[in-house]
Amino acid sequence: MGELYKRFGGGLGTVFLALVAAWLAGMVLAPNVMMIDYALRPNLPPADIGGPRDVYSLSNVLYLANEGVHRAIFFKTVWASALVAFVTLMVCYPLAYWLAQNATPNQTAIAILALTIPFWINEVLRTLAWYILLAFRGPLNAALLALGVIDEPVRWYGDGGVLAGMTYAYILFMLFPIYNAIESLEKSQIEAARDLGASVWRTHWRVVIPHAKAGIATGCVFTFMLAAGSYVAPALLGAPGSRWFTEIIYNWFFEGGDWNRGAAYALVLLVLCLTVVLVTLKIARVNLTDVAK
């Protein structure tokens, strides 16, 4: 703090501190505290608020634990998000490796430009593109029918559609951290492994992947968090049988009319994401400072 005042003087230093405090206290901390407060209180008619029944309890969280359908959707969201992260990793890893190790600088520049174009377009439109592609009478079914791969159209909306749309939406969040990590690997190490007789798989397993561990962990963590918190992909590409936890939360707020329960569900989602993020980073020994680049 002293350094800040010494550098900018009392007036400016105070302005900067006030701005940062307004952000962290007013826009980050206070909303979250209020959400926790909501989550722990019962949903009461206005007359009872502040009355004897207005006490803190875990009943809203326990409601989630005891309500079979919601609980199942919660766990399904967790493992499906993990699956999204895994599939995205599989899709991105070879390209990230090629970009970092084999491509010429020019190829890398062009490929990165091509990769970023879909991501300048917003998530709703990207999902809409998949909505059109996967429609029952849409282009994908038409193409597969024409090729004779399938005999009758497939209903893609549902788990498969959500997986495809989410993987598509989060490619960059996976690709760039892995690319950055692999780029710092000396080519000579890969050559040494090969000269010593290691197969391609073994070289990746023993040399490249351990080196890129931090990047892989970062990519997986972001993809998981984005997938678990996504609303648009399950809403557009899902089916009644593939509901996502965020949709349940939305319903508590705007259809069920129980904000307290909705806040409790949101709190559970937040705790889940933070736990997964922090534990994964801890296991991969990644510093939080290196994550947000």
């Binding site: 350094e3 980050v28 377009i121 648009v232 989602l269």
Partner: protein, 274 residues
């Protein structure tokens, strides 16, 4: 080259093509469907080529209102995030190592929070204060995490700042305010432009957070998503096509400008050395 190597190369080639088809086919189909007369946007079957969906888009009042709402939100988001993000970066770089890494973790935490949670927490706080959803809350909720990006971009630029410039200015009799205004801010200018641009994009594209705090206001992303449920026509594709086109032009321009500035910097360094 051994047989195994050749197989690997072939496999990679197939994967490489498949990857870029996966990346662009959905967008290409979405764009192409704009020109099909079919009421539901698709390319199969092709019922006839038309430009009428652009007219339908132009006549869609709801879309224009939504676009305007998004622009208003983005404008205020930029006003909020640039000063705060810059202040955050300056505060962060003026701290000592321990305090810095703690504050850093706090400052990036909104990036690790799911978007829906940011929306919900903002909504419940302000309901308690008697303020309902709408443009005001959209701006606040979006800003709370967009500031993180601004802070990171400004902090990255500050790392390359030579503090002796500050000392020189002070030595020449400039006040601390003058140093900030005439030395630090001009140095940060390119980063601030890039950050402002990113903030606008982030704001306009946001959906997950906005959905919860929008109240009765309808920004563009919400409007498009609602259209999908209530009656999607290729007019939405026409909008998407325009956005894709603007994006590609923007991305290519940005890349060309970036390459030029890299080349210029390399030239200057060359001259200084030579």
């Amino acid at each position: 080259m051994s047989a195994a190597d050749r197989i690997m190369k072939g496999l990679f080639g197939v994967y490489f093509v498949a990857f870029f088809v996966y990346l662009f086919a959905p967008l290409a189909i979405m764009a192409a469907a704009t020109f099909n007369t079919s009421r539901f946007p698709t390319v199969t079957p092709w019922q006839g080529t038309t430009l009428e969906w652009f007219n339908a888009l132009a006549a869609d009042r709801g879309m224009w209102d939504a676009l305007w709402t998004s622009i208003v939100v983005a404008f205020f988001v930029v006003l909020v995030v640039l000063p705060i993000g810059t202040a955050a970066a300056l505060v962060l770089t003026s701290l000592h190592a321990r305090a810095r890494s703690f504050l850093y973790a706090v400052m990036v935490s909104p990036l690790l929070t799911p978007g829906v949670v940011i929306g919900i927490s903002t909504l419940v706080l302000w309901r308690q204060l008697g303020v309902g959803g709408g443009v005001f809350l959209i701006v606040l909720a979006q800003s709370s995490f967009i500031i993180c990006y601004i802070m990171l971009m400004v902090a990255a630029r500050l790392q390359r700042f030579d503090r002796t410039q500050e000392e020189a200015a002070l030595g020449l009799g400039a006040s601390k305010f003058m140093v900030f205004r005439r030395v630090i801010l001009p140095f940060l200018k390119p980063a601030l432009f890039a950050a402002g641009f990113l903030a606008v994009l982030q704001s306009i594209e946001n959906y997950n957070t906005t959905l919860f705090v929008r109240g009765f206001d309808t920004p563009l992303t919400v409007y498009i998503a609602t259209k999908v449920r209530t009656g999607l026509t290729p007019a939405v594709n026409a909008l998407a096509l325009i956005m894709v086109a603007v994006t590609i032009v923007g991305a290519v321009t940005y890349e060309v400008a970036r390459r030029r500035s890299v080349a210029r910097r390399a030239n200057i360094e060359e001259e200084q050395r030579g």
